[in-house]
């Protein structure tokens, strides 16, 4: 096992990784930018190294500085968390070249899954259904028009290297396709330095269901059941739950099996999430695989009792996944709400600033993952997510009740957060009745 690793991330996920390290007696070195110098988790780390100013390009995204910090702090491995460099193939390659273990998949598997078009091809080869669409990047508008007419509208344009909704457009006819093609291309170019665009059939009222998988270096791959992340706003997940309340036992099994097929086909090692869309008739389509730990991983942790970050560390250190699929039990229902420093009454505008009063929820069935504390200033520079509240109960009804009471006792002043928006969703008749899809939030709020 590792004795000392470096965490190349910040905020709640940096703290989350420190926690796992310390429970495994691993020393944790954290890098930080000047904007994070007062973060309380730096006190918990075994060493904290300032790598640059607030600007991510000069700190959390700066590969030479992070590698340099890893070298001077003499670590064996780097955990990239999520976001920042977590899916950066170049970073993973440089770690390898420097003899530092990258706590994530091998470069080869990242290459196969990181490019969405490649990933679709791989899924097809593995016999997993994919959303009908272009075989690759569409170079010309005319190709997009022809294909859209062949499949029938609506269709969706997506950036090949994209994520988080950027470079994405849903179009319903030839006219809107023409204008969207160029604007999506420009957006993708700006966001990812790659203007490649592909096209897919747009699934109406789909649910977003993803499978958590974990594979070791010895060919063992296991799933940890699914998460339903259909509550999204502008393609950003707000609330996640497990199990997916829409799945029957058979579909659940097929979904997990499909995820494992893809992972095995990619010779994947470490944690991954395989994302699917589920249409009204319970047909599922592979959309993409995320070659990293996800924000919403605690949902899976509380229903399975497995610490996924610890497994990431163990697998990266070369330990086998000493588990059989049937010993991974799923108990009860978990829901996670993301608390973002955004103002729901002002179109979710960022609401950074100093937290002068903070009372976190607690008690039975409640887990809170947060790096913020009373007196902490939420920076406008980084992601607005400041806390995750996760509840675990025997039934979905009880889980909703526990989440509501937890969010109601969450006091955070004076900044605005998404707590009221989450409460509105949890109280909505259609959410309670499980009649939701990925368009639910935009249609109803």
């Amino acid at each position: 096992m590792f004795s000392r690793i470096l965490i190349a991330n910040r905020g709640e996920i940096a703290l989350r990784i420190i926690r796992a390290c310390h429970e495994l007696n691993i020393e944790a070195v954290v890098v930080y930018s000047e904007a994070d110098k007062d973060a309380s988790y730096l006190q918990l780390a075994d060493e904290a190294i300032c790598i640059g100013p607030a600007d991510c390009a000069k700190s959390y995204l700066n590969i030479p500085r992070i590698i340099s910090a890893a070298e001077i702090s003499d670590v064996e491995a780097i955990h990239p968390g999520y976001g920042f460099l977590a899916e950066n193939i170049n970073f993973a390659q440089i770690c390898r070249d420097c003899g530092i273990t990258f706590i994530g998949p091998p470069v080869e598997a990242m290459r196969l899954l990181g490019d969405k078009i490649q990933a679709r091809k791989l899924a097809s080869k593995a016999g997993v259904p994919i959303v009908p669409g272009s075989d690759g990047a569409l170079e010309k508008e005319s190709m997009a028009l022809e294909l859209a007419n062949k499949m029938g509208y609506p269709v969706i344009l997506k950036a090949t290297s994209g994520g988080g909704g950027r470079g994405m457009r849903v179009v319903h006819n030839d006219l809107t396709l023409r204008s969207a093609f160029n604007s999506a291309r420009a957006e993708a170019e700006a966001a990812f330095g790659d203007g490649s665009i592909y096209l897919e059939k747009f699934i109406v009222e789909p649910r977003h269901v993803e499978v958590q998988v974990m594979a070791d270096a010895y060919g063992n791959a296991l799933h940890f059941y699914e998460r339903d992340c259909s509550i999204q706003r502008r393609h950003q997940k707000m609330i996640e739950e497990s199990p997916s309340p829409i799945l029957d036992k058979q579909t659940r099994g097929q979904l997990a099996e499909a995820a494992l097929k893809i992972i095995k086909k990619a010779n994947y090692v470490n944690a991954a999430t395989v994302e699917f869309l589920l249409d009204k008739d319970k047909n599922f389509y592979f959309i993409e695989a995320n070659a990293r730990i996800q924000v919403e991983h605690p949902v899976t942790e509380v229903v399975t009792g497995h610490d996924l970050i610890k497994w990431q560390l163990k697998i990266a250190a070369g330990l086998p996944l000493k588990l059989s699929q049937k010993n991974i039990k799923h108990t009860g229902v978990a829901i996670e709400c993301r608390v973002n420093a955004e103002d729901p009454e002002n179109n979710f505008a960022p609401s950074p600033g100093k937290i002068t009063r903070l009372i976190l929820p607690g008690g039975p069935g409640v887990r809170v993952d947060t790096h913020v504390h009373q007196g902490w200033t939420v920076s406008p520079t980084y992601d607005s997510m400041i806390a995750k509240v996760i509840v675990h109960q025997r039934t979905r009804t009880e889980a909703i009740a526990t989440m509501k009471r937890a969010l109601r006792e969450f006091v955070i002043e004076p900044i605005k957060t998404t707590i009221p928006a989450c409460l509105d969703i949890l109280s909505h008749n259609l959410f309670v009745k499980n009649k939701i899809d990925t368009g639910f939030v935009e249609r109803n709020f």
């Binding site: 030479p64 070298e71 007196g375």
Partner: protein, 167 residues
């Protein structure tokens, strides 16, 4: 009412000091919160203030706790410990995370030492990051008065390497 009398007395004292000294700092602290007010110096003060001016602490002794509005506050007053800006030292900070080397090669002499004069283009050290030797320039002019790192030491971003007395 006794508390409020005490508060008023303190505030009056602060005002008196503010008026008498003109150059003044008022610091009001509460836990992590702090209100710090300092008069900047648009006009040089009349008369020369030596750099080692003794600080005037009107109420020496332990910090005074003042009860006010239900909160416990801590109020310190100081006369300004004015340091003429010509005495301020410049700092050369590490622009990189890495390993500090004082010399271009093991047998060479140090780039700079205490007493060395530098200009913005003077090389002052090397920071090794990912096997790359990055030559670091002074980016200021003056005389090195302090070296805060030792050869081969790991340094983080923003760490102060040298203090420089400007010309």
């Amino acid at each position: 009412m006794a508390d409020k009398d005490t508060d008023l007395k303190k505030i009056k004292e602060i005002i008196e000091i503010m008026k008498e000294n003109e150059l003044l700092e008022v610091e009001i602290k509460h836990g992590d919160d702090k209100i710090f007010l300092k008069r900047s110096q648009p006009h040089p003060p009349v008369g020369v203030i030596p750099s080692s001016v003794p600080s005037i602490r009107p109420e020496p002794g332990p910090p005074q706790h003042i009860q006010g509005g239900g909160a416990e506050a801590l109020i310190h007053t100081y006369a300004a410990q004015a340091t003429p800006s010509s005495e301020a030292l410049a700092e050369i900070k590490s622009p990189l995370v890495g390993t500090y080397y004082a010399t271009p090669s093991p047998d060479s002499e140090h780039y700079v030492e205490v007493g060395s004069t530098v200009d913005p283009q003077t090389l002052v050290c090397i920071i090794e990051a990912m096997k790359v030797m990055n030559e670091i320039k002074a980016e200021t002019s003056g005389t090195i008065v302090e070296v805060l790192v030792t050869n081969g030491q790991a340094v983080e971003y923003g760490q102060v390497l040298f203090k420089v007395k400007p010309d």
